[in-house]
């Protein structure tokens, strides 16, 4: 049974589909020449050698999903599909730089990217990798970059907003699936952002030009309308464009301040050092017992427990609501060259929904489940008390996304729960150890129950029923 992968349906040159659980990319005949050029120009080899483009092998043509097929490819599969609104500042920045590097190499091979959406980039083994093999076309001599506007919307605008306004504006990508409109970015950015020459050109003047020339036909318009006469865009100018974009992106820097969450583990009131050691060794034991290939660390903070799972060979996605902790986590992945940890921004009380056409172009979080194992450490009180989610519903959600579960119960007497209760009425009569076990027993088999010495918290190893 074939299933077209949502998100690849817009492109007439081919699409991605799964058959018997295997991922394939069909190249349509209409795109045959461009695809062959990718291979014959040496661009495919150059990009895959640098790990910038996902590798593929040619599959049996009889696997084609439709009669328009020219070839069927079997691409290497990415471990976990993530989206720009789930990335930290540096992840989006690295994805932008990878896109520009790819475009620079493509130019050297007489080709060019015909789109520059952030959704064409995924993170694999700690590095950004381009996944759309069909994004390359023969360089159109004398014409500017057809994907320039898209690059600015998907990368430059959100990065500038995150840098100059607020890092949480990365979430704008969730609303604007084809990138942040440049007029909106220009409106939101402070005046001082205009002092950066590259931002002045690529965002502010670009937005003004878009507004002024909206609807006009151009040589790049690929319509039958009369083409506007203009100077040819030299290859030198093209290189200049990519260089100024790269320099603009590189100069956008954001360092997280010590936010509430990134300071969490520094605070003595949360854990004594001995209790933290006990918790770490319990997590290690639980992971060893479950032997997961994939782990979701839910509420991972900067990822100390994710790394315990990753060290045992599990491909670990490290979710946290705070962009600052995710940034710190990602910086560690880069500096330590960690290949098994993928930090992502995720509010578990409002996880990524299905967005885009028919709500299915970009998957919701649970569609990317299940993981072999989930770690829900110091999480349940945030969901149950801070967000008023009944324990049964917390259990149902976790049951939906994992097979094995390492979960920590944090009682009301715990100082961190006291902080949460200080500003709200205690309407959580079921929030007891007994209530917790009752709620979870319906969905999970409780295999181990261990008190964390030095605290009042309890760790559980469970398996879904």
């Amino acid at each position: 049974m074939d299933a077209t992968v949502s998100g690849s349906f817009r492109d007439p040159s081919g699409f991605v589909f799964t058959r018997d659980g295997i991922l394939y990319r069909q190249v349509n005949r209409v795109f045959a020449e461009q695809f062959e050029l990718l291979l014959s120009s040496g661009l495919y080899e150059a990009l895959t050698r640098e790990g910038l483009l996902v590798r593929h092998e040619e599959a049996d043509p009889s696997l084609a999903a439709t009669p328009e097929a020219y070839k069927v490819l079997k691409p290497e599969r990415v471990g976990f599909i993530s989206y720009p609104y789930e990335w930290s500042f540096s992840q989006l920045k690295d994805a932008a730089l990878a896109t520009l590097r790819i475009q620079g190499i493509a130019l050297e091979h007489g080709m060019s990217l015909r789109d520059a959406t952030a959704y064409n980039v995924q993170f694999e083994a700690g590095r950004p990798v381009f996944i759309d093999t069909l994004s390359f076309e023969r360089l159109r001599e004398g014409e500017p970059w057809v994907a320039y506007g898209q690059f600015c919307r998907h990368f430059l605008a959100p990065l500038a907003l995150m840098r100059y306004r607020d890092v949480r504006l990365g979430q704008l990508a969730r609303v604007h699936i084809d990138g942040v409109p440049l007029d909106l970015a220009a409106e939101l950015l402070p005046v001082r952002a205009r002092l950066r020459l590259a931002l002045l050109l690529h965002l502010f003047l670009h937005a003004r030009s878009q507004r002024r020339h909206a609807g006009e036909a151009t040589a790049a318009g690929r319509t039958d309308q009369p083409k506007r006469k203009s100077r040819p865009f030299s290859l030198q100018a093209f290189r200049g464009l990519i260089e100024t974009l790269e320099s603009a992106i590189r100069k956008l820097r954001w360092e997280p301040r010590k936010s509430v969450w990134s300071a969490y583990y520094d605070e003595a009131r949360s854990y004594t050092e001995a209790a933290l050691d006990v918790k770490k060794s319990l997590v290690a034991e639980f992971v060893e017992a479950a032997r997961p290939r994939t782990v979701w660390d839910l509420g991972a903070n900067t990822g100390p427990f994710s790394r315990i799972a990753a060290a045992k060979g599990a491909r670990t996605v490290s979710f946290d609501v705070d962009p600052a902790t995710v940034e710190i986590n990602y910086q560690a992945v880069v500096s330590e060259k960690e290949s098994n940890v993928l930090p992502l921004v995720m509010d578990l009380a409002n996880p990524s929904p299905g967005v885009g056409w028919a709500n299915s172009e970009r998957m919701c979080l649970s569609e990317r489940a299940p993981a072999d194992m989930a770690l829900a450490l110091a999480l349940v009180h945030h969901l149950a008390i801070a967000n008023n989610v009944p324990l049964e519903d917390v259990a149902a959600f976790l049951w939906d996304v994992c097979t094995w579960l390492a979960i920590e119960f944090v009682p009301k007497s715990d100082p961190m729960v006291q902080v949460l209760l200080a500003s709200r009425e205690d309407v959580f009569s079921d929030y007891t150890l007994e209530g917790f076990e009752r709620a979870f027993s319906e969905r999970f088999e409780i295999l181990r129950r261990e008190a964390i010495a030095g605290s009042e918290r309890v760790m559980y190893l469970m398996r879904g029923r």
Partner: protein
């Protein structure tokens, strides 16, 4: 508000700003290349001096 249609971005404003900035962008690369060459010329390692080519350098 204009609808967003583009899989392939053919936005004329994006096209024209590149064309307008093209000369400047090309000049930027040319200047960069020029300075790289000048810098390379200035900082290049001097060839080892020999008896024939002049007196030995003072260390």
């Amino acid at each position: 508000m204009r609808p967003s249609l583009a899989y392939i971005d053919a936005n004329s404003g994006s096209y024209l700003i590149q064309v307008i900035a093209g000369v400047g962008l090309a000049a930027l690369v040319a200047i960069k290349v020029f300075w790289r060459r000048v810098w390379g010329f200035v900082t290049r390692k001097k060839p080892q001096t020999t008896v024939e080519s002049g007196p030995p350098r003072e260390e």
